[in-house]
Amino acid sequence: MREFQVSVGGRVYNVRVPKEGDTLLVDGRDCKAALVRVHGNLYSLKLDSRSYDLHVRPDDGRFLVLVEGSEYEVWVEDKSRPRRPASVLRSKEHKAFEIKSPMPGLVSSLKVAPGARVSHGAPLLTLEAMKMENEIRSPRGGVVSEILVRSGQSVEKDDVLVRLRL
């Protein structure tokens, strides 16, 4: 029996997968699941007798799963394997928290200055892309330790915009 903690759209599920057979337990509920690869990242999942087309892309530690038109971000933690020592993770985490640009665009305005204390959801800057102004908000609380962009600057996807001290 392997046990996973799976987070989908902010909700966490406990999933148990037995060594034999194809019946999973999702939060204690039985699901008969069989998966066949169709092509590339496209899978056909049969959940009981119902078919689902799934497109599953591994992406930076998570999975992007397309089901019936909606794409879900899925994080999976394998509970049955030993975790790496927490201290290693934590020290890495504590170094700095980086907020990266989700897309290429033009920084249209900055909403914070270095040293500012921000809370979860606080606007950090606005990014103009695809003819829209997009507000980049802080995913967590902390102190702005560094702002790596200027207003008017073009940025690429995944460029670091702001560093936070947690």
């Binding site: 996973f4 799976v6 989908v8 759209g9 599920y13 999933v15 997968v17 999973l24 509920r29 699901c31 998966l35 690869r37 590339g40 990242n41 899978y43 999942l45 959940l47 689902y52 087309d53 799934l54 497109h55 599953v56 892309r57 930076d60 530690g61 998570r62 999975f63 799963v65 397309l66 089901v67 019936e68 038109g69 909606s70 794409e71 899925v74 994080w75 999976v76 933690e77 394998d78 394997r81 985490e93 928290f97 980086e98 907020i99 989700p102 897309m103 290429p104 979860h120 959801g121 606005t126 892309a129 695809m130 003819k131 829209m132 102004e133 997009n134 980049i136 908000r137 802080s138 995913p139």
Partner: protein, 505 residues
């Protein structure tokens, strides 16, 4: 005007509309020339055209908006006409004038009518002289705040500030009461100046719960104008359309005929040539008011093609070559019901945030009554340089119920992986009771946005499917995509799209 058979057309656009124009040209035996930016070397419009020329860097100003380069290519490639599509240069009177000055045909209205109708105050003046009702509002640009106050008081709050120089929601502000007027005027003026290079704004009475109903028209060079019926486009966000349908469920045949003939009068008054759209707002009392004329082929034109059987691009080409319109008004008899869902590369759950990336998998919807206009294939890169509209799904049915069922079925069949799309949002709308009953207005999407994360509150089966899929994928021997112990990534960024424009309530 002498009739001249067009031999070769330069298509000054990209994406689905460029491909759509190329298709009709190919059917008519007309050769095509594509122009493209460095970002679009492998785009389908480039590969499907008879010839293609690179014209510059990805930024539109240096490529798809670069008039000199485009006209130069058209001349060098010995084209005899230019089709601007929608967006980009399609409503630039300067471009139309320069194309015609270069001895090429412009597939669209004359520069003169683009200019006249592009000035919203002039357009209102022209059509109201032709006896078409316009939304009550100012007849001149706002001079200053006290002028604005005076006019707003005259029509009564709420009022709408609008750009004289262009549409698309840019520079628009709803003002509910006088104390908001000063700031709204400053913002609207600034936004209008940056969007259109023209800071002029004017005031219109703001209509509550309006329906957006537009009429497709065709005019030729001999002052003949016919209309091809209406489209209802009330499912909008930020004044941009999401879903269109024809016929409208809101108007009866009497009002339909009245609006149709008003559209024809408006077009005749501006001596309109080519395909165009006369937009109206219809209020709760079923009074209709002229809104504006779109002097181009529109995104939603397939809805009209599905019902009339006409190819509007073909008609544009024939009109540009000097033919007169081939049909009399009474020969146009639209049939059945058609719906278009616009698929944007956007995440509806995150305030319609743009989504960029590569199309990792594509399975188009097929089958009876479905038309898809897109320029997508596997591997297509969706960038932030251009419009987020990536595909249009159009359904036809003998009645509205069948058109909806087919759309519903097609959207479930359509698989676009690699980016977020508005497919789930469209599914939500067309299955919504208000939409099914035809009881919706331009505030519908606003209502949707208030229900935060509506589409992610999916049924258990779907979530479990997602979860199980990932897990079992890891277990599947031939495809071990899950290695276990994957570290939870630290660094999601929560972000929301700011609404740049106010919205209808």
């Amino acid at each position: 005007m002498q009739s001249h058979r067009i031999q070769k057309v330069l298509v000054a656009n990209r994406g689905e509309i460029a491909l759509r124009i190329i298709r009709t040209c190919e059917e008519m035996g007309i050769r095509t020339v594509a122009v493209y930016s460095e970002a679009d070397r492998t785009a389908l419009h480039v590969r499907r055209a008879s010839e293609a020329y690179e014209i510059g860097p990805p930024a539109p100003l240096e490529s798809y908006l670069a008039m000199d380069k485009i006209i130069q290519v058209a001349k060098a490639a010995k084209c005899d006409a230019v089709h601007p599509g929608y967006g980009f240069l399609s409503e630039s009177p300067d471009f139309a004038r320069r194309v015609e000055k270069s001895g090429l045909l412009f597939i669209g209205p004359t520069a003169r009518s683009i200019r006249a109708l592009g000035d919203k105050l002039r357009a209102r003046d022209i059509v109201s002289r032709a006896g078409v009702p316009v939304v009550p509002g100012s007849t001149e640009p706002i001079r200053d705040l006290s002028h604005a106050r005076q006019i707003a008081a005259e029509f009564g709050y709420p009022v709408l500030l609008k750009a004289v120089g262009g549409g698309g929601g840019r520079g628009m502000r709803i003002v509910k009461e006088e104390k908001e007027l000063g700031q709204a005027l400053r913002e609207a003026t600034a936004e209008t100046r940056s969007a259109f290079g023209d800071p002029r704004v004017y005031i219109e009475k703001y209509l509550r719960h309006p329906r957006h109903i537009e009429v497709q028209i065709l005019g030729d060079s001999y002052d003949n104008v016919i209309h091809l019926g209406e489209r209802e486009c009330s499912i909008q966000r930020r004044f941009q359309k999401m879903i269109e349908e024809s016929p409208s469920t809101f108007i009866d045949d009497v009002l339909r005929a009245e609006i149709g003939s008003a559209a024809v009068r408006a077009a005749k008054a501006s001596r309109y040539r080519s395909a165009g759209t006369v937009e109206f707002l219809v209020d709760e009392d079923k009074k209709y008011y002229f809104l504006e004329v779109n002097t181009r082929i529109q995104v939603e034109h397939p809805v009209t093609e599905m019902r009339t059987g006409l190819d509007i691009v073909e008609e544009q080409l024939r009109i540009a070559s000097g033919e007169s319109i081939r049909w009399k008004q009474e020969e146009i008899s639209p049939r059945g019901h058609s719906i278009e869902c616009r698929i944007y590369a956007e995440d509806a759950d995150e305030g319609f945030l743009p989504s960029v990336g590569k199309i990792a998998y594509l399975r188009p919807a097929q089958g009876n009554g479905i038309r898809i206009d897109s320029a997508l294939e596997m591997g297509t890169e969706i960038t932030s340089y251009y419009d987020a509209l990536i595909s249009k799904v159009v359904s036809w049915g003998i009645d509205r119920a069948q058109a909806i069922s087919r759309m519903d079925r097609a959207l479930r069949e359509y698989l676009i992986a690699g980016i977020k799309t508005t497919i789930p949002f469209c599914l939500y709308v067309i299955n919504h009771k208000a939409f099914r009953n035809g009881e919706y207005d331009t505030g519908f999407v606003q209502e949707f946005s208030k229900r935060n994360h509506q589409t992610t509150a999916a049924d258990d089966g779907r979530l479990i499917a997602a979860i199980s899929g990932v897990l079992v994928a890891g277990e599947a021997k031939e495809a071990p995509i899950l290695t276990g112990g994957s570290q939870i990534k630290d660094g999601w960024s929560g972000w929301k799209t700011k609404r740049i424009e106010q919205e209808y309530h």
